[in-house]
Amino acid sequence: MLKSAHNFLGALQRFALPLFVGLAIGLMVLSRIDNPTVVNVRAELVDVLAPVIDVMSRPTAAIENTVSQIEHFIDVYEENAVLRAENERLLHWQSVARQLDAENRQYSALLSTVVEPREAFVTVRIIGMSSGAFVKTAIVNAGRNDGIQVGQAVTSAEGILGRVIEVGSRSARVLLLTDLNSRVPVMVQQSRAPAVLAGDNSDVVSLVFAADGAAIAVGDRLVTSGEGGLLPPGLPVGVVTGREGGVWRVRLFADPARVEYARVLDYALPGLLPAAREAGAAGELW
């Protein structure tokens, strides 16, 4: 009995390399076909590791906070002058916005416009970041227990970061806009020209499916179009920086590598929701 066990372990030792290489390739194939068991097991394992990563990320956050505080302290005089000027400009914009808001309400009432649903949100902390050859994703410290669901948009103060693709009970994985698999329906804020924003695992993203001769120009601001019903329309995305090889390049407003706290939006579009969520989970709408 003992001898046969020993023989078995010896054989295992001898064939360890081909065995584990085979196992690795098998797991990759299962990941490729989006095997639900693999997806679930991974989400649960991230859940187990999330508290550890959370604790590990605290010191880096503290160091980064201290460094930025020192930087702010050094720049306080110039920053104050800049902020005063900006405040004056913004006060002017505030009065313009109030006036436009009042006008908008009046016109909406006259036309009996359907009111857009307002989104609820959960504030989360980004505790993990990966930038390998395969994916650009982040891990956040909230999951199913906090109401996070697959397909929800994740934004920072500057703009949209990505969307939730995997949910555990207390952690979730976010597919960043720069990921190869990320496709987000957007439009030019001024001309309303629609396009799809696609990542390619590099730091720049590009516009695909933009109509020929569409009203897009360098410097145009892009916002989410809300097509497909998964994302709220009007979230700031980025700015068009140029055209390379017939493709418009975009610089994103939000840099996920700098963000510590983000919001996960629950955009509830009545009626459309369940079907849209399922399609989103399967990656068809994206």
Partner: protein, 177 residues
């Protein structure tokens, strides 16, 4: 009592390479909240497997290396098995070359790591290109390899401190034949 303490100590020694590698994998996935430096963070697990395969191949087995790679895949969101495959290749290469690396000046070790990291990057590039059905950009992978080179001295120093705390390998090597 004494045997219990010795057993616990032995268990700690036996798992130290695996645990230290896993800690490095998790540390490597922590965001730095500082912009582009964070975006090119290398896979520190490969450096750990490289180090332990040279100095304690009896404790950094294929099974342990596979576990390190698998945890890296789970945390990073990469396809399960992809980093594990790269790490297995690193262990195989280092195992064949360790007698040229062991006991040599640090520069030799560093150069050896460059070769291992490039091999890992090549494996990652091949598997990613096959997996995604397109030739992926080599640039980010090379930047990450350079970052891994830059960070290797710090990683090696940390692991060397960890290794000093372990008893000499003789007893365990003999036990495992």
């Amino acid at each position: 009592m004494e045997t219990a303490v010795r057993r616990i100590r032995q268990a700690l020694v036996a798992t130290a390479p695996l645990l230290s590698s896993l800690v490095l994998v998790l540390l490597g996935s922590v965001p730095l909240y500082a912009g582009h430096i964070g975006a090119v963070m290398p896979q520190l697990g490969i450096a750990a497997v490289f180090y332990w395969t040279i100095y304690r191949p009896d404790l950094m087995t294929y099974r342990a290396a596979f576990a390190v790679g698998l945890v890296a895949d789970i945390v990073s969101g990469a396809p399960l098995g992809s980093t594990a495959l790269a790490v297995l290749v690193v262990r195989r290469i280092v195992l064949a070359q360790r007698r040229y690396l062991i006991g040599k000046p640090f520069q030799v070790l560093w150069t050896g790591f460059l070769v291992a990291a490039l091999a890992a990057a090549a494996v990652s590039w091949c598997t990613a290109s096959l997996y995604l059905f397109r030739l992926i950009d080599v640039g980010p992978l090379l930047v990450r390899t350079v970052m891994a080179m830059v960070m290797f001295p710090a990683v090696a120093w940390l692991l060397a401190r960890c290794q000093v705390m372990l008893p000499m390998p003789r007893a365990i090597t003999l036990q495992r034949g």
